[in-house]
């Protein structure tokens, strides 16, 4: 993953999704007085990117205070808006740092159904292999049909070993056993996949807690990272997802997937303000190479279309 290619591809992924917004801003703000009406339209553009009504209003308030009544071009507006959003996101833009002293650094991957947990694990495995590490994958989704096979294919693609149990095996027991094995083999990272679950199902959330309890019997500090995978098409419910998962399993960071689509993932801005959890990476496709570090400036510029 060359660095130049990285920005290019991120931009490419994001730009498609922001075309609409760009068009909107362009038509609204071509050399125009920034009056109430203009601000309202700008606010609606943010809302349609899933920032939510409150956060959009807050961002626009700042605009009102600093720029109300001035003549602005759409370029100025976009740059200023991107800066505004970027300032909110910068504090949460932290890559996931693998602690090489852990051997293995245990990463538990959680989230609601279909957000992209398994795919993200595949992409992470690819990334760590490229960096010369030894990742081991754990097929902790023992519930969904063919979930184990799905992860096994990712293991083949990325040349990473996959530890799996029999169908309907106890995920906690499997994770425990996997940690033992990974330790013995000197793995650098242990990526534990889990079944998708709705955050309002307390029994299922309890199962996740059990996985953590059980692996802590072996390593009291594990899991060293708990990643919550969020789908960029998700609306305001993402806030509730983060709240509950964080309370139940101490989420340490977020990964936002499907940013290659038309969804702009504006909910990330709301999440940054509400929880301040690190956003480690974004998913921009279905292939192994489609994981990018989260960059506040790029994301913000992508969001407003500069």
């Amino acid at each position: 993953m060359a660095l130049g290619g990285f920005f290019g591809r991120l931009k490419q992924g994001l730009s498609r999704s922001t075309q609409k917004l760009t068009e909107g801003i362009t038509t609204v703000f071509k050399k125009r007085r920034l009056d109430d009406e203009a601000l309202e339209e700008l606010e609606e553009l943010l809302i349609s990117a899933d920032l939510g009504t409150e956060v959009a209003a807050r961002v626009i308030d700042t605009f009102r205070r600093t720029r109300f009544g001035t003549e602005v071009t759409d370029e100025e507006i976009k740059t200023a808006l991107a800066e505004e959003v970027s300032a909110i996101l910068t504090p949460v833009a932290h890559p996931l740092v693998i602690d090489h002293a852990r051997k293995p650094h245990v990463v538990l991957v959680v989230g609601v159904n279909g957000t992209g947990k398994t795919t993200t694990i595949g992409k992470m495995a690819q990334l760590y292999r490229e960096q010369g590490m030894r990742p081991v994958l754990v097929a902790g989704d023992t519930f969904r049909a063919a979930a184990v096979e799905q992860l096994q294919i990712w293991g083949q693609r990325t040349d990473a070993p996959v530890i799996a149990g029999p169908p309907n095996a106890d995920a906690a027991g499997l994770a425990f056993q996997a940690l033992t094995q990974a330790k013995a083999e000197g793995a650098d990272v242990l990526l534990i996949d889990t079944a998708g679950r709705l955050h309002n199902r307390s029994v299922l959330m309890e199962e996740l807690k059990k996985i953590i309890r059980v692996i802590r019997k072996q390593d009291p500090e594990a899991p060293h990272s708990v990643l919550l995978v969020l789908d960029a098409t998700t609306g305001q419910n993402a806030i509730q997802q983060v709240r509950v998962f964080r309370e139940m399993v101490d989420v340490t960071g977020l990964v936002v997937t499907k940013l290659d689509g038309s969804a702009r993932g504006g909910i990330v801005v709301a999440l940054a303000q509400e929880f301040g959890l690190p956003v480690h990476a974004v998913g921009v496709g279905e292939q192994a190479g489609d994981l990018r570090p989260f960059d506040a400036g790029d994301f913000a510029r992508g969001l407003v279309g500069t």
């Binding site: 498609r16 999704s17 609409k20 609606e44 809302i47 349609s48 990117a49 899933d50 939510g52 009504t53 609601v112 159904n113 279909g114 957000t115 992209g116 519930f143 969904r144 049909a145 063919a146 979930a147 096979e149 799905q150 096994q152 294919i153 990712w154 693609r157 709705l198 955050h199 309002n200 199902r201 307390s202 029994v203 309890e206 789908d231 098409t233 998700t234 609306g235 305001q236 419910n237 993402a238 509730q240 509950v244 499907k258 290659d260 689509g261 038309s262 969804a263 702009r264 504006g266 909910i267 279905e286």
Partner: protein
Amino acid sequence: MFEALSDKLGGVFDRLRGRGALSEADVNEALREVRLALLDADVALPVVREFVAKVRERAVGTEVLDSVSPGQQVVKIVNDVMIEQLGGAGAVPLNLTAVPPVPILMVGLQGSGKTTTAGKLGLRLRERLRRKVLLASLDTQRPAAQLQLAQLAERAGVPSLPIVAGQTPVEIARRAMDTGRREGFDIVILDTAGRLSINQELMAEVTEIRAATNPVETLLVVDAMTGQDAVNTAKAFNEAVGVTGIVMTRMDGDARGGAALSMRAITGAPIKLTGISEKLDGLEDFHPERVAGRILGMGDIVGLVEKASETVDQEEAEKLARKMAKGQFDLEDYAKQLKQITKMGSLSGILGMLPGVGKIKAQLEDANLDTSILKRQGAIISSMTPKERRAPDIIKASRKKRIASGSGTSVQEVNRLLKQFDDMSTMMKRMNKLGQKGLMRHGLSAIMPKGMAPRNRPY
């Protein structure tokens, strides 16, 4: 939220009590609140605009009745328009009238729930309509997707098209239809790979699949948690394949589900089905009048009543109610009640369906109740003698020990149950006094037995 909305609207209209017809200015002020409520529920912006215009049209000039507040009147109009826009009362069934094998095409974004829904649909059509169904996965994109559908099909007792490696989705679709014809299937369900609405290549592919199979139903599968992007998805898929019906999945989550309104408004296609659990039987008809309340935050009271009447033995329930009213409720009755509650599903699920439970639900989430506690309590009670159940007061130390070991629990748990039963008797007396209104006002704490402890407290 709906309560909050009606409160806000009440405030807006307080000062116009008894002033006759609603003016445009007054209505506009109220509609700003409506707009925010809809956006917070993830209804897409263009759809919100249209919706608000409709409400305005209907509200302006309406006479303010003496019996209700202007705020309530607007809320009623909002609710009516919502139900209409979601498709009016009642469910729209799948269209299956065509020469067999009838093709049903499943389309949607990645991770929206197509494959699970295909499996559920197979089971439903086989069980309820006794149709001979063939399931076929055209998803050559996602690892193990075809295997996933094959496994689901097996669980559903429905045949699936044998997997042939190397075939393109269009080739698989043709093979599925051929097999359907040759082997006398009534229905062929075609599951496709998830695709982004902006991926032109994959959208062209699904158009081609459609042309090759000519499906009677093309179902767009949408996650109930979807945000503003619902508009783009609805437009793109409708243009590419002509959506005939929508399936909203993950309705068992706690998203307000505004995407349902967006999808319906943009495609014009009815929402036909909803996914309500991960299990294969978790597929239900869509009832606009229920989901309207949910989008507005009003709760799904009809859904609750229906779910209750499906699972609860009516006579039993009435007998219990009479006993409660008379204060003759004993542990035997409590055990029966526990069984019914367990049958109805998790407590939070039930309470989520009640109107105006925002407050109660928040308390519940804090408490994080779980029905497994109820099952254990059921076990404790069944280890008691009939005499003990009728007169729990006689249960002293030695009896407690016997009951605990008989039910595989601890004396502590037995104590907790007895205490809870005691609390519950008190609660019932209070509930009778408070009535429905009081329950809403004071929330769950007014009635909740203290023994219903949070899950995270070790049991």
